[in-house]
Structure formats: C-alpha cells, structure tokens
C-alpha cells in the first residue's frame, strides 16, 4: 500500500485533534503517530517580537512540501503523512507548522517526521519577517538548518 500524503498551505489556524482523526481514520494498520507542532516564539534574536509574517511562493510551496513527504515515504515505511504550514501574520504563542507521520512501528514515524521538518526548513519556499517595536526585519537562514538537513544524506 502506498502512503497517503497530503499538504496544506493556509492562513487559518489548524486543529491537531481534527487532523489526527483524519490521518488515521479507517486505517487499522497505524500503530504509531508522531506529531511535530512549531510555535511562534516571543524571542528570536533577543529582541521583543510583536508578530511574525510569513511570505511564500504559491504553487512551488505546495509542490515542494509534497515532494518532501514523498521522499520520506520512499525512505521509511509510512501509512500516512501530512504537512500543514500557515502563512500570513501570526503572533507569539500561535501554531505555525504541523507535521504528522503515521506508521506501523514508531521508529519510522519518528525518523520520517524529523527528516520532513529538517528538509522543510531548507527546501520549502517560505520567508519569515519579524515585527519588533523597532519595525519589520527579515529573518536570515541559519547554517544550523543546513547542517540538520545534510545529516540525512550522510
């Protein structure tokens, strides 16, 4: 059976419980679900962040998220995977991204989930802008994200 893979890019918030139910419903082969949820922090580079704004490349974003899920499904034995990424304006404490992986055994779901997040951070065309009391500022990519993604090719 091939894995069920879906992605969403949306302004609206998402609900873990609802997404989890959709992911596993009707699939008795699922023995493990791993969920990663990324949140907006109030401190990024040691200054007060009032809000976060996410820009993306419509079309390419969905394509690249789906490719990341497909790569994970080729590498690990997955029943299903789902990525939800928000765009637009968000505030400290808000959810920003969710990656769900479902497999028969936990090892696959754990590793595939981390792989998907590591690749998302370096491959998917999203850009974060921070709003601080001093005004807006684009966040720059970190080398540590490239290192996190490259460990999967070693």
């Amino acid at each position: 059976m091939s894995a069920r893979l879906t992605v969403s890019v949306q302004e609206a918030d998402f609900d873990f419980k609802h997404e989890h139910t959709l992911l596993v419903s009707g699939d008795k082969g699922v023995g493990a679900v791993v969920a990663f949820i990324g949140m907006v922090r109030d401190l990024n580079l040691a200054e007060d962040v009032v809000a976060l704004e996410l820009e993306h490349y419509p079309g390419m974003t969905e394509k690249s998220l789906l490719r990341i899920a497909e790569q994970a499904a080729q590498r690990w034995s997955l029943q299903a995977a789902r990525i939800v990424h928000r765009v637009g304006k968000m505030y400290p404490g808000d959810q920003i991204v969710m990656v769900l992986t479902a497999s028969a055994h936990r090892g696959d779901a754990y590793e595939a989930n981390q792989f998907m997040m590591d690749y998302l951070k370096t491959e998917a065309p999203f850009w974060k802008k921070e709003w601080t009391p001093e005004g807006p500022r684009w966040i720059e990519a970190r080398d540590s994200d490239d290192h996190a993604a490259s460990k999967w090719t070693q």
Binding site: I96, L120, K121, A124, P125, W138
Partner: protein
C-alpha cells in the same frame, strides 16, 4: 529568450518589484548568465548579485544550480535562503 522573473521577500523589497518579463539577450543561456545579466543593471542589482549575500534560484518551481540551462518561456524565481518552519 523570454523569461518571467519573480522576486520574493527581501529581494522583492530591495528591487521594488515582485515580477517582470524580460527578453534576455542571446548571451544568456544558464542561470548564472541570467544573474550576470541582472547584475549588469548596476546599483542595487549589482550589489545584490555580486556581494556575499547568498541567494537561491527556482526554475519552473524547482530549486536549481547556477549551471542549469534556461528555456524560453521559463519562470525563474530568485530569493534569499528560505526560513520557514
């Protein structure tokens, strides 16, 4: 060759445009040639593409290397390294 260029995030703000269609000269064959062509506009364009700041290029919505060959009618997006997640 006709190219549809898209700029995102920092670069869109720097250049003051989100997209443009250009008729590239015959010397433009690869992504690197296109970047050199844009840098030859001078000012902020030259500063952006000849400085130390990294940028990425997507050709028809796939990330590509500077050596990739362009095709007529292609959509080429140029942006700073991504920061999602």
């Amino acid at each position: 060759m006709n190219l549809q260029l898209l700029y995102f995030a920092q670069l869109r703000e720097k250049f003051g445009i989100a997209q443009e269609t250009i008729q590239a000269p015959a010397t433009v064959q690869t992504v690197a040639d296109l970047i050199a062509h844009l840098a030859s506009r001078g000012g902020i364009w030259q500063e952006t593409f000849s400085g130390e700041q990294a940028f990425r290029v997507a050709l028809n919505q796939d990330m590509v290397a500077l050596t990739t060959t362009l095709k007529d009618g292609a959509e080429v997006a140029i942006f700073r390294p991504v920061t999602g997640g």
